[in-house]
Symmetry: C2
Subunit: 468 residues, 2 copies
């Protein structure tokens, strides 16, 4: 492709994105294709000769777009948001153009040093202690795996890396912790049986006394507690484990504390929500995802550690072909995580934070909290509905009650209701279960979601009810 064609289609892509965002509400939030619909429109073998960008771009619009679920739609209430923003996309464009692989300082010093600086900014923005250091990971799954590995090594005096997993070890998390904890426990070789799910209280937050009991029990039985994972903002209901008592317990048992605040971390930008992270200073590692609620394109996960030397000691390997004359003077982020290769992710964080400023981001978060308040009021105004968990942030777990219905029937009823709302194309919500009780789950965090979108989804729910 010659430069002029690149310019032409580059401008077209930019304009297409601007139009797409402008008109995004004309698309159904959740793609309406059926399994196989996209695949059957694609040839089973690649072309021998190159094709024109016209036809590729046309196929993108005709074949791919109908199969896209529109995460940037203001009617996005599913899972957690992954809210992007114009400055973040501009940075992604430049990152793609530079095409730099930033595994070590030498392979792009600016990528490493900008990452240090924006991670220091972020650390201060959410109030973590000044001595901590940060590194960008792709996702919270990876960050949590890094924590589990560092904890494993610390608990076994770096012998697991050398001699293979040394049993018996144990890992602790609340029964509401994210599935990446179980996945990480398996990957790191602890095994599922080493994972203790600690009971939660009526707010779905981990009960510190139960954690202490489990630690005590294991210690007496000769099992070495390696890692506790506390969640600030669980996936199902954004329950917040009480970090301060958990932290004190972990410190007294000498066990690694990792805090998963993947979604909720952004809320700590607000002084009035900072209390959610109270006690985080007791932790050894902490993760939150700017790619969820902080206007930064997926993927971008911010991982902070109290003592980076424990992280690098877990991961560093020094093959000859990666040595540089400056290794003693610089950070080589390849030793701060799983992968060797690294994208230049700091650029988009820098663009986002500078373009919005602290105040701009805070305003967005406050607006989402206000919208969550409105939606809660709407539900509470209708006695047919119930809210199943405290609304700490912007996730609301609710369902329609039906007298005399079994749990199973209630699940079917509400699942049907949810499907009707999602089929409308105007909103997309997902579900969860809390203590076995099925509920719809509305998560607010899309950058452009307005009060209108909130009222629309409520109307859709009301309308679906009357049809059932």
């Amino acid at each position: 492709m010659d430069r002029e064609t690149f310019r032409l289609f580059g401008h077209k892509c930019i304009d297409w994105i601007a139009d797409y965002w402008e008109e995004i509400e004309k698309y159904p939030v959740r793609s309406q294709v059926k399994p196989g619909d996209v695949k059957k429109k694609l040839p089973s073998t690649p072309p021998d000769a190159g094709e024109s960008m016209e036809s590729i771009f046309q196929d993108f619009q005709d074949i791919i777009l109908p199969g896209i679920t529109h995460w940037q739609h203001p009617g996005w209430f599913a899972y957690f948001p992954s809210n992007a923003s114009p400055p973040s996309v501009l940075a992604e464009v430049l990152t793609a153009g530079l095409g730099a692989q930033c595994m070590v300082w030498q392979t792009s010093p600016a990528a490493t040093e900008l990452e240090e600086v924006v991670m220091d900014w972020l650390r201060g923005m959410i109030g973590l202690p000044e001595e901590w250091a940060g590194v960008i990971q792709d996702t919270a799954s990876t960050a949590t795996l890094c924590a589990l590995l560092t904890a494993r090594e610390k608990a076994t005096s770096y012998n697991s890396n050398q001699r293979g997993l040394i049993k018996p070890l144990a890992v602790y998390a609340s029964e509401e912790a994210h599935s990446s904890v179980e996945k990480g426990v398996k990957i790191a070789g602890y095994g599922r049986e080493a994972l203790r799910y600690i009971p939660t209280d009526e707010t779905f937050a981990l009960i510190p006394e139960e954690l202490e009991r489990a630690l005590e029990h294991d210690t007496r039985a000769g099992v070495r507690p390696a890692c506790v994972i506390a969640t600030s903002g669980t996936t199902s209901s954004t329950a917040c484990d009480p970090l301060e008592p958990i932290g004190r317990i972990c410190n007294s048992y000498g066990v690694w504390l990792h805090v998963d605040a993947a979604f909720a971390g952004t809320a700590a930008l607000l002084p009035e929500k900072r209390h959610l992270l109270q006690g985080a200073e007791y932790a050894d590692s902490f993760v939150f995802n700017p790619h969820k609620w902080m206007l930064t394109n997926f993927d971008c996960s911010a991982y902070f550690v109290k003592d980076p030397s424990l992280l690098t000691r877990t991961f560093e390997i020094h093959p000859e072909y990666l040595k540089t004359g400056l290794d003693a003077q610089v950070k080589n982020f390849r030793d701060w995580g799983i992968q060797l290769g690294r994208r230049f992710r700091a650029l988009k964080l820098w663009f986002v934070i500078r373009s919005y400023g602290l105040e701009g981001i805070r305003n967005m978060v406050r607006e989402h909290l206000r919208l969550a308040g409105i939606f809660q009021k709407l539900i509470r105004s209708d006695s047919r509905f119930e809210i199943l968990a405290p609304v700490n942030l912007t996730v609301i777990c609710f369902r329609m009650k039906q007298e005399g219905m079994t749990e199973e029937a209630l699940e079917r009823f509400n699942a049907d209701l949810l499907e009707q709302v999602n089929s409308s194309g105007k909103a997309f919500l997902t579900h969860t279960k809390l203590r076995g009780r099925y509920c719809m789950r509305l998560a607010i965090g899309q950058a452009n979601t307005t009060e209108d979108n909130i009222r629309t989804v409520w109307d859709l729910i009301q309308k679906a009810c009357t049809h059932m």
Copy 2:
């Protein structure tokens, strides 16, 4: 940022990239900043109020750019290339604009189905068996870790996932294998001591008889061989382990065979180089990186498995909040790897393969092979130099000989030579050691590298020699 500002700066970024590529030879390949140079130009705290895109974009050019090492420079001969291309960048732009997180089918059916299709294309393009299935990983480090984990589970009847790593297990790779093998062995809980480095022959390829001896020895000793990692195209010298005999041995011992062809896999697009992968059909898993030598922006690693059910059995977890009504009918790629969250990476592969066509990509690879031939001839024409390893593809390991010098002095001499070449800004090479012998290492694969660039780097080396 309003839409018009986005359009304006979007066009500016596209034009900036087009100009950057046009004028890239005016930049020094390897950034010339010193440690701390970039950092000291950046404020230590984030702004409270938003800043204009003018000033951010200006700072990108003034502060960040001098700290970039230019991977897309035609004088790039370091490490392995990571050659991007205009159609790949266009796809990255659209991916960023869509901002979709493609963890499961439902969160963007087109992303999943396009990934299935392009991975089928790729599989056919390099001649892997038709029954195999593919998934995109971020990097080969991650793909190799996936292989080590699947192998671990298979060898222990899925009990390691459940009960924690079950010893004693062993993993085998040549002494020239990539450092990600050792890293993966540690992460997966095998431990460094479980890794057997198998000796290599005079071409730096694994000696199958030595592998067999090690397997036999371990088996007799009650150690369970879990995984063999063969490399097609080692990092130091692109040595190619003989896959066919290795494959037969692995099959007879019932041990998982993973093939790491991260760089060399692209060469299998050429019928005349297909022999490098002869025997790959015996393997259980295979990885190669389109982000190295196939015009696709970093990151994009193609991971293929013979039996995907073993992969998903290793990774799948079904939390309620991720269940969809279609899970039995579709692929959910979150269960095919480490991370839950996934970028829409298939789009860039689709753009690249369609835009270049098979022939276009093959032409590029053939041209690089021709350039490697020219560089070899230049070295061989000068008796002061020696080539230290067979040139299987486009990586040449060479050094200047100095009669009577110790290895240590030779290393210092050639390292100085290398530093002089790199300091010129016109080329960037890295080094390695082969059997303890230091050498310079020239890797050809940048999309726009021409014969001129090859002659330039040779001239630089000659000039540096005369100054020493």
